[in-house]
């Protein structure tokens, strides 16, 4: 009995010590990086002032409301580009994922490794770099924004689709092969129906993410809604800039809500 209590105490002490050590190292890491970055913790108190600033300056006025048609048009273009980049990337990524998946893909290991490596490079090269390189060659137009989003989406979706397809049971493929089904029949009749739900969910997530990233790409490449925000913001037209933020937020929340609704229907 006594021994057991001691054991329990030791157990809890070890657990608490571990928690304490994790918290302590987090705190030290925080202090270290904060002093490296020259970040003052008390500026966290300034969060309220930021909101107050937004509430007073970002309120759309009469003048900014007259800009609404132009803003909505750019929002519509951004929406379209976000959708088409995700869709095109989805089609290409699906074909590459079919080849790159371990269970039904190419039997040559090298091909699979190359596809995964390609996806990893596309994903990890920062979007800033893609935007800059593409801007240099494709100039300042919607196409540049589309390509930057397409490349990022491709890198992300290849990995997501490969993981989704690899969840598909390899034994089923074997069984179908035994019945004499061709590769095409296996993909269309067995794999596609099973992976269609997660694939649609990934696509919707990508579209939602694209609206946010499109703003950034627009800032960097001087196109679309991001450019409009930059223009108004640097021109001190805060009312109009606030309107841009508002319409972006409404669109993102709208997509998030419809995505979760669609997700519930198809789940």
């Amino acid at each position: 009995m006594d021994q057991q209590t001691t054991k329990q105490w030791a157990f809890f002490r070890r657990k608490h010590t571990r928690l304490f050590l994790v918290l302590l190292s987090a705190l030290m890491l925080y202090m270290g990086t904060a002093s490296l970055m020259n970040f003052q913790t008390r500026s966290l108190l300034g969060i309220g002032s930021g909101f107050a600033w937004m509430a007073t300056n970002f309120v759309p006025n009469q003048a900014s409301l007259s800009l609404l048609p132009a803003i909505l048009y750019q929002l519509w273009r951004t929406f379209l580009i976000g959708i088409s980049a995700a869709t095109c990337a989805g089609v290409v990524a699906f074909l590459l994922a079919l080849m790159g998946a371990r269970n039904i893909g190419c039997r040559v290991t090298l091909v699979r490794v190359v596809i995964r490596g390609f996806a990893s490079v596309l994903r990890n090269v920062p979007i800033v770099a893609w935007a800059m390189i593409l801007l240099f060659s494709f100039k300042q137009n919607d196409l540049t924004g589309f390509l930057a989003l397409f490349v990022m989406n491709l890198g992300f979706l290849i990995r997501a689709f490969i993981e989704t397809i690899e969840d598909f049971d390899g034994d089923k493929v074997l069984a179908l092969k035994a019945t004499g089904a061709t590769y095409g029949q296996i993909v269309v009749q067995a794999v596609l129906p099973e992976v269609s739900v997660p694939i649609v969910e990934w696509l919707l997530y990508m579209i939602e993410n694209n609206i946010r990233d499109a703003t950034l790409v627009g800032l960097l490449t001087g196109t679309g809604i991001g450019f409009l925000f930059d223009l108004y913001y640097k021109g001190l037209q805060y009312g109009a800039a606030g309107l841009v933020v508002l319409v972006i937020a409404i669109l993102v929340i709208g997509i998030e809500l419809s995505a979760s609704k669609i997700g519930r229907v198809i789940a």
């Binding site: 990086t33 500026s43 930021g50 869709t87 800033v128 390189i133 060659s137 649609v200």
Partner: protein
Amino acid sequence: MIEQSNKPVSLRPTVAASLHRRTGIHDRRKITISLLLTSLLILTGYTLTTLAPAHFRWGAAVASFVDNVRVMMISPSLGNDTWSQLMAAMGETVGLAILTTLIGAGGGFVMALLSADNLAPKAVASVVKAILAWIRAVPTILWVLIYSVSLGLGPNAAVIGISFHSVAYLGKVYANSLEAIPAASIEALKASGAGLFPILCQAVLPVAAARLLSWTFIRFEINFADAVVVGAAAGAGGIGYQLFTASNFYFDFHEVGLLIYLILGFAIIAELVAVKLRAKFMD
């Protein structure tokens, strides 16, 4: 045959009914997916025809793009900077990513406690969830720009801007992880008179720790990318700013290549470390 004889006869109509219902759901699912995909394809087709400006010279654009990528990949060089400058810039960006992830994790955990359905009162949970959704809906870069006006340019605006998004993002995914803990086990502890802290330390953390940790690592990767972006688009310094000046001011694709290699190298190391740490904490 054998299976059928084992089942009670009375069950069979129910099975048939549920099968019928399931095909109904199956049809609705199929219709939703095909409707969605069709509309996505139509919108994409329309967009693709209107994307390129009139008389766009595809050949020249693609050729120059391939050429630039080749220059970057094959002959990276230092350009106008020194190694120590680049390493300092890299350190700044990594520091920004670590700092914002820590603030995001701390703030996000508090937000998750306030918005998890099984821990917080319903009214509080729905209000906090709505606020977090609004913060997430505004792109990170806009938060940074907004705070760089209200707080002044410098590291504070960058840290707070990225942290904001991290808190909102981690608040949501942490809450989802916490909601996976059965409400009954928390209720039981509450009924036995345990306070908030014992419940957290003994019931919530042990179950959810691994998942919370892996989300934190995912957010660190996002924050690193965001830190690069913020340096480029908001002039907040770091490797992103170097990238921006190298490509936009000096048009030096050799240096852009080197910077991309540096960033790729760090991202791959971070991914490996994350995998190792996750494996260690999982057991």
